[in-house]
């Protein structure tokens, strides 16, 4: 183990420069500014991931955010284990009927100010599962959504761009529900 650790001291870091925040996300968020809550989060965001019916493709790319290339924690963004600790719910999947209540309860358990990010095409409008007897549709059918990040699944860079836009928005005192 020592050899491996030592080698890493002399290897160049793999972490890549951050992508610019997504313009589309900035626009969607700017449009959302309403009742401005001016609470500053000190440039940090705690995210609680909620799979509301995804195929788990979106989760795979969410996991990738923590690898050395994207290293999401350097931006002060981290995944937390409880909605009670979260500022942001990152929701994936078409919301299934069987997950509706769990999503609502997770949302209600998250203290304000809070933001909801709908991740992936399914989270927007149900994606290719829309219209099924077992699916409600996009996340906004169940809880208010502040930002959509498109893709099937969105690449880690896309997710990062969206979250960085959210981080800037939050620090400027954007809407919080």
């Amino acid at each position: 183990m020592r050899k491996l650790l030592f080698e890493n001291l002399i290897r160049l870091p793999l972490t890549e420069p951050p992508p610019p925040p997504s313009d589309a996300a900035m626009e969607e968020l700017a449009a959302g500014i309403g009742a401005a809550s001016r609470r500053r989060l000190g440039r940090s965001l705690s995210i609680r991931a909620v799979d509301a019916g995804s195929c788990n493709g979106c989760e795979m790319e969410m996991h990738a955010l923590s690898n050395a290339f994207y290293d999401i924690e350097r931006f002060g963004i981290r995944f937390v284990a409880s909605p009670r600790h979260a500022d942001v719910l990152l929701v994936t999947g078409p919301v299934t009927k069987n997950m509706q209540e769990a999503l609502e309860r997770t949302y209600n358990a998250t203290p304000a100010p809070k933001w909801v990010v709908a991740l992936g095409g399914c989270a927007r409008d149900g994606g290719c599962f829309a219209g099924s007897y077992a699916v409600i549709g996009g996340v906004s059918m169940v809880v208010p959504v502040d930002l959509h990040i498109p893709g099937c699944p969105p690449s880690p860079t896309d997710i990062l761009r969206g979250l960085l836009a959210l981080l800037e928005h939050v620090n400027e005192g954007g809407r919080a529900s």
């Binding site: 995804s54 690898n67 769990a102």
Partner: protein, 505 residues
């Protein structure tokens, strides 16, 4: 002990079912076949229903073949339950009952499975009925005794994981019973399939379990091609296997890192995560999508491998070969890590065999089954590879199977790039004038994925059924955790890494 072909002779063979036979049998033959399952010559591969028919797919491993037995023309009276004779069928039959109107007679567990009482209709694949009002509580199995307490977990879990509910009954730290409740991510995929065209069918199949998007699209396409008698260009056949091996590589690397992380050793996660990311980037460069989604379609593949893509894959192989051995050594020589994985979550060989457990779950518990080797679908019939098998059945063995399979996948990828035939990558779908049925079994990273479908004249999908390997692995997790401490559950669970979405459909 009857062979599969003995049983098939007692039924009426169905025309236009390929590549393996399907026979309509009577209830007596059905029950006789089910009652031979515990003897172990035949393995239950799948069980599914339609409005008035049930089908059971069986594997005759010594003979290297499979077949489907069907009961047709069923009405209100239902059909004889398989689970009463062979427990691995239990959840399949509970799901079948939820989705069709058919009643498995003498089913030992009559609780619903996928239907949580929240859909706005009942029996979506049978004669649809209106939903019953109100959601009743789910009756978990009782566990009685002094000092027992229950720990409910989920459906929303603490990490970035799919939803499901786990009900632990523990005595102090020790788990005496785990009961799973699944179905939370049921999206109704099989009902969406009915009436869809083949293109949409392939998309839906590729979204059944995102981590196995290649394997599902592969299985779906192969089932369509079997049904239509379509011969796929040889280059596409090889490219499919290339994508499948890349998917296996990425997932196994991710799993090894995640298992070690759950044993509080994040260094492995960091290093495996880097290698996994390199695989996904090479896949993106070679095929235009990190997960290679929608790249396999009926008729062939949608993106070709060019010289740059192949070069990228070769340097990927070199990079993994340079870095991975040090990680294996690190895993093997870290006593604190071994302390957590060795002897933890042991699954016995008898259960693995009975449940026909596929993938690393089966192969870590002595079941040497790999579709690539047993059914030898092309191009694996002309590739050289080993199927690693271990007998310990613990978390450690499931890690080692993955390590060995990574090595095998590297060899396979190399052989494929070296010998990739030239030529077209797609051939058009012929239209046929009659009903056709097809089936495919593909080895995904998690185990064997089965797809069965019926195509209507004109090319629409009439019925498509997809069976994830997790159907037979989830129940075994309940067995493997027994007697372990609650704190080792994440470790055991990760070493199984069953799919929720693939199971819930």
């Amino acid at each position: 002990m009857p062979t599969l072909s003995d049983i098939l002779k007692k039924g009426r063979s169905v025309p236009h079912h390929a590549p393996w036979p399907r026979a309509v049998v009577d209830a007596a033959v059905w029950t006789a076949a089910a009652s031979t399952l515990p003897e172990g010559r035949l393995t239950l591969l799948d069980l599914w229903g339609e409005a008035s028919a049930v089908h059971m797919a069986l594997l005759d491993e010594p003979a290297g073949t499979t077949a489907v037995l069907s009961l047709e023309g069923l009405a209100g009276g239902g059909y004889p339950s398989v689970a009463q004779l062979h427990p691995p069928a239990l959840r399949l039959e509970r799901a079948l009952r939820d989705l069709t109107r058919l009643e498995p007679r003498d089913l030992p567990d009559r609780r619903p499975w996928l239907d949580h009482g929240r859909w706005d209709l009942r029996r979506p694949l049978g004669e649809r009925g209106i939903a019953l009002p109100g959601v009743g509580p789910y009756a978990f199995l009782p566990a009685e005794g002094d000092g027992l307490h229950q720990i409910p977990v989920g459906p929303v879990h603490a990490g970035i994981i799919e939803p499901g509910h786990f009900r632990f009954t523990a005595n102090g730290e020790t788990v005496v019973r785990l009961e799973e409740r699944l179905g939370y991510v049921h999206k109704g995929i099989e009902a969406l399939m009915a009436g869809a065209d083949l293109i949409r069918g392939a998309q839906l199949a590729g979204r059944t379990s995102g981590d196995s998007t290649v394997a599902y699209a592969y299985a779906f396409s192969q089932a369509v091609e079997a049904a239509l008698g379509l011969v796929v260009p040889i280059r596409a056949v090889w490219l499919r296997a290339l994508m499948a091996e890349l998917e296996r590589l990425a997932n196994h690397l991710g799993d090894i890192g995640a298992i070690c992380n759950d044993a509080a050793f994040p260094l492995m996660l960091a290093h495996c995560g880097v290698l996994r990311e390199r695989v996904l980037r090479a896949a993106d460069a070679a095929f235009g999508h990190r997960l290679m989604r929608d790249r396999i379609v009926p008729g062939g593949v949608t993106s070709d491998l060019n010289g740059d893509g192949a070069g990228g894959l070769r340097s990927l192989l070199a990079e993994i070969r340079r870095r991975f051995p040090a990680l294996i050594e690190l895993y093997d020589n870290t006593a604190s890590l071994q302390d957590r994985t060795v002897g933890t979550g042991r699954l016995g060989a008898a259960l693995a065999r009975e449940y026909g457990a596929g993938g690393y779950v089966g192969r870590a518990s002595g079941r040497a089954f790999d579709v690539r080797q047993v059914l030898r679908y092309p191009p694996y019939d002309s590739l050289v590879f080993d199927v690693p098998v271990l007998n310990d059945g613990d978390v450690n063995a499931r890690v080692w199977i993955r390590i060995r399979e990574i090595e095998q996948s590297l060899l396979l990828i190399e052989q494929i790039i070296d010998r990739l035939p030239m030529g077209p990558i797609f051939s058009g779908i012929p239209s046929v004038g009659e009903r056709r049925e097809g089936m495919a079994l593909i080895e995904g990273f998690r185990g064997d994925i089965l797809v069965w479908l019926r195509i209507a004249p004109g090319g629409g999908i009439e019925r498509c059924h997809l069976r994830d390997p997790s159907w037979f692995q989830w129940p075994l997790l309940e067995a493997a955790i027994e007697g372990n401490i609650v704190a080792d559950f994440p470790l055991c669970n990760k070493s199984f890494n069953c799919s929720y979405s693939g199971h819930d459909l």
